[in-house]
Amino acid sequence: TSEPDTPSGRTFAPPSARRLARELGVDVAAVDGSGPGGRVTEADVRAHAEGGGSADPGGAD
């Protein structure tokens, strides 16, 4: 389940983190961001993937 953490449902993450999320099949919107303002980093995405976070059905194919 991905609770949008911004009003528009937009997740703030640099392109490199977004691409990594797709590669690992992670829904970037479901990742807890550790950066300023809750920005999602590549490390956050990895931690989420390793922590068995919800896989993204619409992720990498």
Binding site: R10, P14, R19, G35, P36, G37, G38, R39, V40, A60
Partner: protein, 475 residues
Amino acid sequence: MVVGDVTTGTEVLVIGAGPGGYVAAIRAAQEGLDTTLVEKDAYGGACLNRGCIPSKALITGSGLAHEAGNAEFMGVHADPAVDMGKMIEWKDGVVDRLTGGVEKLCKANGVNLVEGVASFVGENTVRVAHGGDGQGSETLEFEHAVIATGSRPIQVPGFDFAEDHVWSSADALDADTVPDRLGVVGGGYIGMELATTYAKLGAEVTVVEMLDDILDPYEDDVKRVVRKRAEELGVEFNFGEGASEWTEAPDGGYLLRTETEDGEESTYGVDKILVAVGRQPVTDGLDLENAGIETDDRGFVETDDRTRTAVEHVHAVGDVAGDPMLAHAASNEGIVAAEVIAGEPAALDRQAVPAAVFTDPEIGTVGMTEAEAAEAGFEPAVGEMPFNASGRAMTTGHTEGFVRIVADEETGFVLGGQIVGPEASELIAEVALAVEMGATLEDVAATVHTHPTLAEAVMEAAENARGQAIHTLNR
């Protein structure tokens, strides 16, 4: 010389060598895929041959002449004369170098180049009809295809581009004399860039626009800066009027007739009429239905966030796939298409596509406006820096306009920016990186910016949004 049909195969077939297609082809080849690029006309597409590049060359030439002729205030006295034939020749040289470069880059990356018109004969097959000497056609089997056939100018009924005095944007970029009086139908970005260019070249320019302002998608205060400057250059605006017809004038020129919604008519004496009311997708002759692909009601090919059409192994990128109809969007989509085909985790997940208008001054925008941010549910924090408070702007003699940064009040995330002023097209790059990265106002404000530069205004606008600007009063 191939007469009759040969059938060859390719992993990736790209149709159209504009900024969408040639970039897709090069990246596909870089990914190790056997790639074939079919182009019917000229490498580089509309952008390099009769769009972005030639227009910017003429904007430079006319701009330099105009600037030098109006620099007494800084002690520079010149009375420049423009040799239009020579300017066009220079422009053609630039185009030739670039299109030649595209061809070379394709070959260097191992892309197979085929000249001809492609049309689908099945889900995995096109026929390429060769024109000219190498007449005949060949059949190409492909595993994946990328449609990148671009767009062409929309014609207004009664204004046939075949007429000598009715100009498309392509004609306006190829004229070897400057008309005394130029009528411009359409105040969008192409119309405004060319209206400014010709006004600086000495034409009396009259713009006719159906809407009640120029540059429809932009904010009022952004438009105002450009419109005011155009008026200073002598451009006359007629809003709320649609071009209805032209007639020959007794004096040898033409009368451009317009009509308001209420049926009120006006006429303007002109020598040439540039029609720039928008662009439509090029899909005719492609026989898309043979591949099972449909277009939307405006004729664009619909795609998903991986640039795939309804037929999964056929992608579409660039103008033919709809908004934003911009060269860099086309290229970005081309890269995504190639990478998706290669099995990479690519997608059109760009946060924002910047856009520029090369008027005087320029406009550069990216991401959300204040209104769009509010609409999306953010509480917008907005900061501005006017260029008339920028030291660098003053030292260039160009102080019109401003930088505006829009952010989310709560988190500080930069959501977008609007710049109108000198070098706006370049300055927006930093804001685009900020938006794409998820940078905050503090990140931008704390980044040391070189003095004296126009880019300092981006930092200053970010500080202004935080109530901490140094060189402008905080709201």
